[in-house]
Symmetry: C2
Subunit: 179 residues, 2 copies
DNA sequence: TCAATATATATCGGATCCGAGGTATACTCG
DNA sequence: CGAGTATACCTCGGATCCGATATATATTGA
């Protein structure tokens, strides 16, 4: 997921690692930024894969910066990941949020809509969080406020997402039809 | 986080690995269950740490089951993790949800409320997801429907959680006062 | 002026996780 | 009766991640 964020940010403009770190933290980390011990190895790894190149930037700032440029291979890899995301079928909000932040970078509205439809199909599957043996338990069955809270929050989240998904898919289809 | 789920489920009743796998999948995994290659090493690890004991169950079922029993050390470890969760300050919904599912296992309403208050404080911090240089960008600034969607969903989620948190903290405080 | 903080990059060990593969028995359906 | 599926446990290699640690300079505030 970190790799997708790096590819996405670099498609907008070249950045050095420290700047990238702040942007990734804002998107994925909030309080605790992504650890340096995670980010810099990831950059190195992705440079080895040929997705980005590094160039030293002799500048006015304290430490020497290494600017990161997305290569054509990196751009192709980004498009591949946006078009065919592996994990729309699991309930990992962070992954979905990161994807959502960069999905606009796909050129075709039709392909953007296709990704959203897969997510919609996933969210429309019935979900159960708790079981008594093999029998799924309904929210009303436990007075436990914490499990009630879990279901309340999960429900509100998926309702908000569903509403937005449906509206956005419609808009993308209309956009594609009129083009 | 997997370890917290295992401790929490075993506090309710002894389970064998395969049963645990289904419950963990229902809570954390939904479509894709936690991999066997993750769960069984985790069980082994936790047995080595003294948090649970394993006993072979010669039974009528196909393969021999190994029942898992939480030890006193395991119960103490669970309470420690519920009381002092490391990561209420990061935006990982899965962690928070797992914690929420077992927080009722803390005996004192006062301590339950204390955990919720820390989460409340985190959610009340202003958050920005996107930056133009160092300047945080408001939702209105980009017409981009994907970033708008990101903010819409994030906002709805945190509003639902805030409302539930405030109500539940009040209820716990009242409960503690009347006891 | 001196300490602290911010800038900036990097390595290393340890932890956890996933995917692929392996083993074996019971039940169900054609 | 045979194939497929469900039950049930496990190992191993590879990937990613975090925390600690290291280095070095510029800026800011007491």
């Amino acid at each position: 997921m970190l790799e997708l964020a790096i590819l996405g940010f670099l498609r907008d403009r070249p950045l050095h690692g420290y700047d990238l770190r702040k942007r990734v933290a804002a998107l994925m980390g909030h309080v605790r930024p992504v650890a340096d011990g995670t980010l810099y190895p990831a950059i190195k790894r992705m440079a080895a894969a040929g997705w980005l190149t590094r160039k030293d930037e002799p500048g006015a700032v304290a430490a020497p910066r290494r600017m990161l440029y997305l290569t054509d291979e990196g751009r192709a890899e980004l498009e591949r990941r946006l078009r065919d995301p592996d994990d729309l079928d699991i309930s990992d909000e962070n992954r979905w949020f990161t994807l959502l932040a960069f999905l606009r970078q796909l050129d075709e509205p039709k392909e953007q809509a296709a990704v959203l439809r897969r997510r919609l199909a996933f969210l429309e599957e019935p979900t159960s969080f708790f079981y008594d043996g093999d029998r799924p338990m309904a929210a009303e069955e436990f007075g436990d406020p914490f499990r009630q809270g879990l279901l309340t929050i999960a429900h509100a989240t998926s309702q908000a997402e569903l509403a937005w998904l449906r509206a956005t898919i419609d808009a993308l289809v209309a956009l594609d039809g009129s083009a």
